[in-house]
Assembly symmetry: C2
Homo-oligomer: 83 residues x 2
């Protein structure tokens, strides 16, 4: 089963990589860019057929390792939820 | 207008960060993890009201700066396309 995990900086947390991209894009002529936030998208292949169990395990992975709960939010999406 | 850009390594391109996460997850007891691929998710705020124009501009940004077309694929999604 394929699980997508999105990890984003919480609102209000400075995002220097996003700010650098914003400045670079504007310098390249993309003057309409107001802001860029950079997050991670992890695609995890699991040997698990049960959707709810896979979701819970992926959430546990975020808590234990993948996300930093002080500054990051995460979202777990099963493949069938993504078009 | 909010645009989401997903940037992923092409199939077959080595992903050392994903491989490290896979090993770490298994070491933590998540033995069902078969593989992890790491991509970027950029959220771009644009001063542009026209959906099609915003999409084309975001695609141009990927070509010009955000993605490395040799090793990466990108996908542009308008906010209303994401549930």
């Amino acid at each position: 089963m394929e699980v997508s995990v999105f990890i984003q900086l919480k609102d209000g947390v400075l995002d220097p990589e996003g700010e650098t991209l914003r400045q670079s894009l504007r310098r390249l002529g993309f003057h309409e860019v107001d802001g860029v936030r950079v997050g991670k998208h992890l695609q995890i292949s699991l040997a698990e057929d049960n959707t709810e169990r896979a979701r819970r395990r992926a959430e546990q992975m975020c808590e234990d390792l993948l996300a930093n709960p002080v500054i990051e939010d995460y979202q777990v999406r099963m493949k069938e939820e993504l078009s």
